[in-house]
Symmetry: C2
Subunit: 368 residues, 2 copies
């Protein structure tokens, strides 16, 4: 392989591809970036056996070929090169020479043959989503993804796509996040579960483009974002039947300013530390929410205005879970639906049903 | 104690004072901020038995008194208060109520009597230094302070002040940094060693002021920076006789652009990792410096122009130590004085003697 290309272009592409490269593995090949020079393109791949990122840049190919170079070293080198042009040359013994300006590196690469094959996604037709909408939908659900590996399927976000609608669902056993949007799609109804890790990579690449295309196969999904392809395995297993988890009735409906409520939760939660895990107590009264905590460090009380319809409810929460849900709302006012002090609450927009966040309550100590 | 004051003013003061407060100690009192309301001032102190910071803010004192409040909790609370006014009230049982807007905290403080006495510095006359100059002098020497506790005295910076001159010296066994400035001082010649930790606190407070005043006692130093007083113990012991460590002769004198040299060191050092510790090889030739490394990862070579007078020298360095010294130079071109491949080099300005950085060489493998 012998190529000449633009340093910055190659550096940016390698840094994007590098993110999925394994750093702790016993297989040196997958700690590397796979480079393949063909025609007038240099193709680059990073792959950790679960998620892969592919891209290509324009390059002058003086001799076609392929090599694997350690991702960290390659990226470090590219970032520091003095000239805007870089020459890369690799011989049959995988000795690779990188030259730019007066600097010259000789490093040993790995034979291209040792790179694992990345899965291919063929057939199906692409689902096109606006980048901005997909980004928002991921951000508004991924906080509720389970961090616990006990049920792997819940470490991903479920996508449900049907005629005219796309829905993302995440759940971790304490809370549930649902985000819905309209979409131009008339194919058959499909659903699949994408690992949160893959979606974080999608988030990082989605900025420079208008639309994201998704192609779904039986076990894999392919995201196409401009010049980048992200391929990922899908998660397999029984996802929570979330519809049955959402309470159908309510005794109390509260409208509140999102920021006011968040600020108050943050203030009153200051005495809740890792060392002292106590619930946050909320009393939803006629036109006021009283928020308080009692921990071994002391007590904090606060109150904010609201509009309440229905019964007074006194209810306890994990402060972080309640706050996470409110932060995801991204809207000036929210509606909180309550069903007594022992049932989960749902947080929804005052109008429409774009999102639904469900939070389980925590039993307060003076109750039975 | 019962006071009313401006939230932001108190919050800022507490955050500055908090920085020296112990976080891991068996004495709860010194995990706190000591607050004392007297006249129309609220005085605040943080002290970890080595370094103390003192300040005071205007406050409406409704009842004089003093209390110790946990620094982390107090600062967290103050940062989040909703109103620009805060009320703080503590009773005889150290129950402290903090109120602002609708939020109210009740936390238990510690009796003021339990706070350790901070040392006082009396007598002597102050030495006045321009803030900007002191900041620069500390920054240009503290990189060479020893991180190793084996010789405590070298974990500080030595100050030597005499008629018209102030000199800061740091040394860690592998390198030496000396920074000199003119100063209006006509008192007797003095020298003392200030812990690097104290000087880091000085750096953080020095931004908002024109001059810093230093008062030196036998075992302590007091820095006065605007409204803040930093008191610190001095370090005691035999500081390196640094003058005898500086080579008096030279065989080679090199003038080089500082940035060019730094960039080249950074580039060629990329193959030197924590795992592979190898020296950086520099060949100072007639009008060129050749910089290279050979590690198990590969080789890197680079070269930059320079002006050399004297013999060609091939010499090895710890890349970090060489780079640290060049970074501290803060000047377009520097002069490097060499004395063969086994003697320390000194890096000095092309004109004058404001700074001197000495770096020990590392023996290269192909030498005897």
């Amino acid at each position: 392989m012998k190529i000449i290309c633009n340093t910055e272009l190659l550096s940016e592409a390698c840094q994007n591809v590098q993110r999925v490269v394994s750093t702790k593995t016993s297989i040196p090949a997958i700690e590397g970036i796979y480079m393949k020079a063909l025609g007038n393109k240099l193709m680059l791949t990073g792959y950790d056996l679960e998620v892969g990122i592919d891209t290509s840049i324009d390059a002058k190919i003086e001799k076609e070929g392929a090599i694997i170079l350690n991702a960290r070293i390659l990226c470090d080198i590219l970032r520091k090169l003095p000239s805007e042009i870089v020459h890369i040359e690799a011989d049959e013994r995988q000795l690779c020479i990188i030259r730019s300006g007066d600097v010259k590196y000789k490093i040993v690469g790995i034979a291209a043959e040792e790179y694992p094959e990345t899965p291919t996604v063929t057939g199906g037709y692409p689902i096109i989503v606006e980048s901005e909408i997909l980004r928002e939908m991921i951000r508004q659900t991924n906080f509720a993804v389970s961090k616990n590996d006990a049920k792997i399927v819940h470490t991903g976000i479920k996508f449900e796509i049907k005629n005219g609608e796309i829905k993302l669902i995440a759940v971790d056993g304490f809370r549930l996040a649902i985000r819905k949007e309209n979409i131009k799609y008339t194919g058959e109804e499909i659903s699949f579960i994408v690992p949160a890790k893959t979606l974080n990579e999608v988030l990082k690449l989605v900025d420079n483009t208008d639309v994201v295309s998704m192609n779904i196969a039986k076990r894999h999904i392919l995201f196409e974002i401009e010049n980048y392809k992200i391929i990922s395995r899908l998660l397999d297993g029984e996802f929570l039947d979330y519809n049955s988890a959402i309470p159908k009735s309510l005794t109390t409906e509260v409208k509140v300013n999102t920021k006011l409520f968040m600020d108050s939760i943050e203030r009153t939660s200051l005495l809740i530390t890792d060392r002292v895990k106590s619930p946050l107590r909320c009393v939803f009264d006629e036109n006021i929410i009283r928020i308080s905590t009692i921990t071994s460090l002391g007590t904090a009380t606060d109150r904010i205005p609201c509009q309440t319809e229905g019964n007074r409810v006194e209810i306890g929460f994990n402060n972080i879970f309640l706050l996470d849900a409110l932060k995801a709302c991204n809207i000036e006012n929210v509606k909180i639906n309550l069903n007594g002090s022992l049932s989960p609450i749902t947080i929804v927009p005052p109008e429409g049903d774009n999102f639904l966040f469900l939070v389980l309550p925590v039993r307060l100590k003076n109750e039975n």
